[in-house]
């Protein structure tokens, strides 16, 4: 090969690198390993973690231990899916394209929206992008945000906002819910009103009020949803949402320390040309066959550059594929059954924990399958102690936001059994 290229050693090919920039020494990295050593090394690293899935976990807070149907990973393992690039050549990418089209359909059905994009990085960035989009649509800056949304998402929103494109106004929650009066008071001139239901502490918000307030003020209404609960909860569209976003990890994706997850993003038809992210549409080929293709690309960075609706290029297509396969595996009966199961088990756990009298209710809001309770001792040592006994005792909400100091957030998925819950409660009682 060197001969064909006309050089005598490969270093000649790097002659353009100026002397001052050349790396004269070898990279200071551990030397390479064969597959055999590497396997041992990686297994050793993995074994230095205690997987939440290997114990009994009640942790949620944006990342949930739902069952992943076996078929989902078998689909994801097809190399034709995972080793492909973004489907720029539709003639040889119908697999990815059709799967995403189906995913978009599923998100529309769950949220009640007209259109869904092909995925965003995660729920938090989807929410930030929704705020940017609302600013673009309304040509305003202020974004009225429920302070009851996930503290991590609030941080991301604030971080994105530092650029000055949007100006968040955070509505302080009262009794774990977003006070509508405060929203109404702040909404004038807003680009958007942003509410999550369930919110960070699991409570179900009144979605109708903020929607009306937003629309009265000419703002868009952005709602963040839990996709599993949408199996049994009225879709945000019914409450006037203009944009619905959320974290889709629950739909067939491993927790994987919180990433890669899946940001879903859906909106009303009228805003489609302002949406961020890729869209797959249906058309026909020269033979008249139905075929799928990336469309409305003039919104995107590779065409519109600085005027693009977002800078997103790589998205989370494979996670969207997982979500599509998940929805196919569970179907409507499975999804609503799973949601019901989670809700029933969460209500059961809350009742039982309250009975121990180690926990008390900070408020009395409605909730789905996640809820916050106040612990009557040191949260950190309680969680450590229970971890030793094989339980991930929820999430220390105060660690995420001082506002929630002393509160523990419990999520209960369909994977938990009554036996596990009872045993856990017994451990709590014995603390």
């Amino acid at each position: 090969m060197l001969r064909a290229v006309g050089v005598s050693e490969v270093d000649e090919l790097f002659a353009d690198v100026p002397a001052g920039a050349r790396l004269e020494s070898a990279l200071d990295l551990p030397s390479g390993m064969g597959e055999i050593e590497l396997t041992t090394h990686l297994r050793a690293l993995a074994s230095r973690n205690v997987a939440a899935t290997s114990i009994v976990s009640f942790a949620g807070a944006g990342c949930y231990d739902h069952h992943i149907p076996s078929v989902v990973d078998h689909v994801l393992r097809r190399p034709e899916f995972f080793t492909a690039y973004t489907p720029y050549q539709p003639e040889v990418s119908q697999g990815t394209l059709q799967a995403i089209f189906e995913y978009q359909t599923g998100i529309c059905e769950l949220t009640g929206m007209d259109v869904s994009n092909a995925s965003m990085y995660d729920g938090a960035t989807a929410l930030a992008e929704a705020s940017f989009m609302a600013a673009r649509v309304t040509k305003r800056h202020k974004v009225v945000v429920s302070g009851a949304i996930h503290p991590g998402w609030l941080t991301v929103l604030r971080t994105y906002a530092a650029a000055g494109v949007i100006e968040p106004v955070i509505i302080e929650p009262v009794q774990g819910l977003t006070p509508i009066e405060a929203v109404t008071a702040a909404v004038a001139d807003a680009a958007a009103v942003v509410v999550a239901s369930p919110n960070f502490t699991g409570s179900i918000e009144d979605l109708a009020g903020p929607g009306a307030a937003a629309h009265d003020a000419g703002a868009l209404y952005v709602v963040a949803s839990n996709p599993i609960l949408l199996g049994v909860m009225e879709p945000p569209a019914s409450f006037g949402a203009d944009i619905v976003v959320g974290e889709g990890q629950s739909l067939g994706n491993a927790m994987s320390l919180g990433g890669p997850g899946l940001g879903f993003f859906a909106c009303r038809q009228q805003f489609v040309r302002q949406m961020p992210g890729r869209l797959v549409g249906r058309t026909v080929d020269v033979d008249g066959n139905d075929a799928y293709v990336l469309t409305l690309a003039t919104r995107e960075q590779h065409i519109r550059r600085e005027k693009a609706t977002s800078n997103i290029c790589s998205n989370h297509a494979l996670n969207a594929l997982a979500a599509g396969a998940y929805l196919a595996a569970v179907g409507v009966e499975g999804l609503s059954g799973i949601a019901r199961s989670c809700v029933a088990k969460a209500h059961y756990l809350r009742e039982e924990l309250l009975k121990t009298e180690r926990f008390s209710a900070p408020w009395d809001a409605l909730f789905g399958y996640e809820f916050a309770l106040r612990f009557d001792g040191d949260v950190d040592s309680m969680r450590r102690e229970l971890f030793e006994r094989g339980y991930l005792a929820g999430v220390d909400a105060g660690e995420l936001d001082a506002r929630y100091d002393g509160l523990v957030l419990f999520a209960v998925t369909e994977k938990r059994t009554r036996a596990q819950i009872d045993a856990f409660v017994a451990e709590v009682s014995s603390l």
Binding site: P18, L29, G258, P260, N311, S314, G331
Partner: protein
């Protein structure tokens, strides 16, 4: 029927258009249901306070067999790196080692909740710390954030860091300069970060036009963004001068690291004078592209900028702490997404780094560059070569002559390549080359494959002369053929709807 069948490939239902999964199955079918309820049932309407769903969503109703057949069929209509050579320039479609796929599925990684106590995820933190170190080492930039989810996200993150640094220094700025050869994400990230884009033309030779750069720079410029090696596959040898010039006005020099594959172990952005860089792990570090994602776009910055990085980063623990702990840099911009980063992708990249080691990574760059030059030499007779010189890991051909002489466009060539069983190169990018074909073979392609690909492109150049019309209608052998993209955009159909 017969006629059609005679042209339908094996397993007819397995190739060619397929019904949507929403149109399959019997209404009562399903595959995974909830377990029997072992706790008291709840009245949904009561606990959800009247927000219980009235109309059920319409979801697929299929059996597991139907799911596997459906997705197997879809997979059969897809082309991936495992299907054949995928020389998509700027995308580094290298082979995705299977051990990485195994690693990220180990329960000790895949089953971790992001908010577990740090002492219960020491293996994960050690892994991330090791990857931070490795990226710092290859980039020459010591501050690393693994949080960004993709390259564009990394760009945005770095721009936010610049903004914070300038603002923190009481020197807020408004503009970012980029060359016209830049990838679209660069200007788009600039806008998202609230800056104004100033575009400068590239020089004749595809390099930065230093005069144009100097003209564009002033004390209102926050940064200059450059891809180096650049998007025509050349290493800008003025790089030290470029970064010096940028620093002279108090701006930061940003390196779009999409092309890191060319320089691993040979030169480092930090040593070139860059202040920040993103690395696409899904390019250089072998993690799969996933049909569009997920990727991962860590950002590496100078020591001075490290204090602004998003949180958490992983650092070694001190006395009384576990060996590795999460850390919030002192002047952190906050966070650019939830939790740690695309951890599942980080596991793969880490495995890759450890498999290759420093020497192996250097060989990657050498072989990638050698293979690109080999292909370039084989192809320069058949196509125009706008920059006829040694290239890095990729090079750009032009189909300008084919267009002029035979009316055959680069798009035709690309589509025709599909008939030969190859994925086309990146086409019509960078914008500064007419009828561009941007070819990046990567180091993992064996010589046989390079030769077969060159043979195919040369054959197609021949076909352009003899049968241009045939090329206009290519491809012939794909599951679907040329699509009516205008119709898709004119009257968007973006979701299934039930048949009336």
């Amino acid at each position: 029927m017969t006629e059609k069948l005679a042209h339908t490939p094996a397993g007819a239902p397995v190739r060619g258009p397929r019904a949507l999964i929403y149109d399959l199955g019997a209404p009562e079918s399903s595959c995974v249901l909830a377990p029997d309820l072992d706790v008291p049932a709840v009245q949904l309407d009561a606990v959800l306070g009247g927000t219980a769903r009235v109309t059920a969503p319409r979801l697929p109703h299929v059996t597991e067999l139907e799911i596997m057949r459906h997705y197997s069929h879809l997979a059969d209509m897809n082309f991936g790196v495992d299907s054949g050579l995928y020389p998509l320039g700027s995308c580094t479609m290298k082979y995705n080692p299977r051990i990485n796929e195994d690693a990220c599925r180990l329960e000790g990684f895949a089953g971790l909740h992001p908010l577990q106590p740090a002492d219960t995820i020491q293996g994960a933190l050690e892994l991330m710390h090791g990857l931070q170190d490795a990226l710092a080492q290859v980039s020459g930039l010591p501050g690393v954030s693994l949080q960004p989810a993709a390259g564009a996200h990394g760009e945005l993150t770095a721009l936010m860091v610049f903004r914070a640094a300038h603002t923190g220094a009481g020197d807020p700025r408004r503009k970012v300069v980029i060359p016209d050869s830049a990838h679209g994400t660069n200007p788009a990230s600039v806008s998202m970060c609230g800056y104004e884009t100033v575009t400068i033309p590239s020089g004749e030779d595809g390099m930065v036009d230093l005069d144009a750069l100097r003209d564009a720079l002033d004390t209102d410029v926050a940064a200059f963004m450059l891809t180096n090696p650049n998007t025509v596959g050349l290493f800008d040898s003025q790089i030290l001068e470029i970064t010096r010039t940028v620093h002279d006005v108090g701006a930061y020099a940003y390196c779009d690291g999409a092309n890191m594959n060319a320089i691993l172990g040979k030169t480092r952005p930090g040593d070139m004078g860059f202040d920040a860089l993103h690395i696409n792990l899904h390019k250089t570090f072998s993690t799969p592209h996933g049909g569009g994602g997920p990727g991962s776009g860590p950002v590496c910055v100078t020591e001075g900028l490290a204090r602004y990085l998003p949180a958490p980063v992983v650092r070694r623990g001190i006395e009384g702490e576990p060996a590795y702990v999460p850390h919030t840099p002192e002047a952190s911009i906050g966070a650019v997404r939830s939790f740690w980063g695309n951890f599942g992708v980080l596991v793969r990249a880490y495995a890759y780094v450890r498999a290759l080691g420093g020497e192996g990574l250097t060989e990657v760059a050498e072989q990638a560059v050698l293979s690109a030059n080999y292909l370039k030499e084989r192809l320069k007779g058949a196509f125009d070569l706008p920059f006829d010189r040694v290239c890095m890991h990729e090079f750009v051909l032009s189909g300008a002559s084919l267009r002029r002489e035979y009316g055959v466009r680069t798009l035709d060539v690309a589509k025709r390549l599909l008939d030969y069983g190859f994925h086309p190169p990146t086409v019509y990018f960078p914008l500064i080359v007419e009828e561009a074909l941007m070819i990046e073979p990567t180091e993992t392609e064996p010589l046989d494959a390079l030769d077969a690909f060159a043979d195919a492109l040369i054959a197609i150049a021949g076909e352009a002369a003899t049968s241009p019309d045939m090329l206009h209608d290519a491809p012939y052998t794909t599951p679907v053929r040329r699509l009516d993209e205008a119709r898709a955009a004119r009257d968007p159909v973006l979701r299934w709807r039930p048949r009336e």
